[in-house]
Symmetry: C2
Subunit: 352 residues, 2 copies
């Protein structure tokens, strides 16, 4: 029996995430990259091989386009990996347009990992559009999408009763670039940090609302109160990472927390301190899940799962599940368990 | 809007697992137990309340039946929890008959967690029967089903490349009863142990073939060689558990291992030492998953997830997913992520 045709992928947004996905896809069997769209002047009109600085077969060595219109149709693409936004609002019209072409989408936008949390109306609209055009849209990533939600939910699967949950992701910001340093306040003085937070200019982690709503919807907890906080992590020693520097007394990152009440009792706590060079602060990085109940679960992953590679991997690994899915807006709650693709991706596609 | 009718459950096999599931279901909203079948003379013709020694509403306080025939029909049951066997062959005719009534099944049989591993033909037959009668069958449990396979697979979901995998479940047999003591050789002398293994009378852990095949099929590894071993765990001190006793120099349990090669290279190692009172041997129990690759994953759950409660919980927690599923033989690879049921189970059922 001859192999079915390759899975055609278009990548929209070619920053660290989009280009990482391209590299991963190029290493796998059964995929073909049929188009890339990006706005950055250094990348537009360049060949993929030039931008990635690696050899690429002629068929896949596409020229990066500034405009998406000519790249996406049912004939040209089975799926678009959309790596352009953090918020559902920003990604909405892009996703809508892709779905209207009858093409599936995976979005890296943090809010899209569980868009019902912050954008109920837009979520309903996306679901309707997707169903109308017989396509599927999924938002995913390492966090939200996996470490502070999906994995928690999976572990409750072995429990007869859940009393309360504490999830903690202690990670290093050192691998990240300048944008992230800015967003997380790395290197700011305390005064600068206070100014920036007052004027809402520090993003911190986007995803607590999504992760907590996903967990609570999954296990059947009705949230009565949600609150989150962000505090500066002040370093007592100078810390230097490739793209960041915080001198002693300044901000090395932010400590984010969320508290979720069910019937006015705190049932779910999230802790997510992010900083450059955590070891210099005596901090061991890791992903931790503690669920009290029957039976209790105490999980630790040390060090933490790398956020950059993790997001790239889970987006690519979910491609077969999204293609196989019934149409509509899906979340990680709906689809089968994510898994690495070590063989030919076509073996995972159900023929219709 | 009025609530839809309750989810009707029949339990077939009322040992530790079946009766544990009944207790769990009785604590949840939206379920009703409509029948129980069991052969044990102490339980047949007894009311549920008498056997479980707890108050039960009149509707659910069924009399335990020796024969299943009158208990299972589409009208009486949405699902049967079948907790009678370890092997697919033993469970096959029971599952077949339930499916022929058009009723869904969850089986605790270890082999049924991934029946393709040992019983390809029976699996195909079950799939056909299920589809013909528009019902679904799933096998699951804590192990195989979750700790040494599903969780491993989920963690590979954040990886772009998997180099090799080592999974270890170090658990205590102390909570288990006399049957398990017998099956695992607890209390035997080394001579007795050697005799029993020579004549294939020690079961040890059933599930390595299922777990390893599930992992390899999921990520796309073709197995070139599988082998497993069992060695006695000799205790250097006397160990006593509620149902077992091993004196110094005798067998406190068994250490099971499996080695799986892909292209003649060992890629997947499973270690599962099971013994009574492991702490007396200086052993810390836990579930451990180490996956080398990009990024590497080092996970530890300490102590191990309780095997008894865990199996009971995951079987009950998967009920909505099985009811919602398309017909056929399904595995944990096919269905959405397991999750605890803290609210009304009916909220998880998709209306058709």
């Amino acid at each position: 029996m001859s192999k079915p045709r390759k899975v055609k992928v278009v990548i929209w947004g070619f920053g660290a995430m989009g280009s990482g996905m391209a590299k991963m896809i190029l290493e796998k069997e059964g995929f073909v990259i049929t188009g890339v769209c990006d706005l950055h002047p250094n990348r537009v009109n360049q060949k993929l091989s030039a931008v990635l600085n690696q050899k690429i077969s002629t068929r896949q060595d596409v020229v990066i386009q500034e405009h998406i219109e000519s790249l996406v149709s049912k004939k040209q693409a089975d799926i678009v990996l959309l790596a352009t936004d953090s918020f559902t609002k920003g990604a909405f019209y892009k996703i809508k347009w892709i779905l209207e072409q009858g093409v599936n989408v995976i979005s890296t936008a943090e809010e899209m990992a569980y868009p019902y949390a912050n954008e109920k109306e837009l979520s309903k609209e996306l679901d309707l559009i997707a169903k109308k055009h017989k396509a599927t849209v999924l938002g995913t990533g390492i966090n939200p999408g996996m470490m502070m939600d999906y994995l928690v939910i999976a572990l409750t699967g072995v429990m007869s009763h859940v009393e309360n949950i504490e999830v903690s992701r202690v990670n290093s910001l050192s691998p990240f670039g300048e944008t992230v340093m800015e967003e997380q306040g790395v290197g700011k003085t305390i005064e600068q940090y206070n100014e920036l937070t007052k004027s809402n200019q520090l993003a911190g982690h986007v995803g607590f609302k999504e992760s907590t709503q996903m967990i609570c919807d999954a296990i059947g907890w009705k949230i009565s109160h949600f609150e989150q906080s962000m505090s500066p992590i002040i370093t007592s020693v100078d810390r230097k990472s490739p793209h960041g520097f915080a001198k002693a007394g300044d901000v090395a990152g932010v400590d984010m927390r969320a508290f979720v009440s069910v019937n006015d009792e705190i049932k779910l706590i999230m802790k997510h301190p992010q900083q450059i060079e955590p070891s210099l602060g005596g901090v061991q990085t890791g992903d931790y899940i503690t669920i009290l109940g029957t039976p209790p679960v105490h999980m630790a992953i040390q060090p933490e799962i790398d956020g950059g590679i993790g997001t790239i991997a889970i987006c690519v690994n979910m491609i077969p599940h999204v293609i196989n899915s019934r149409p509509g807006l899906k979340t990680m709650l709906d689809l089968p368990v994510p898994r690495a693709i070590q063989g030919d991706v076509r073996d995972q596609i159900e023929r219709k």
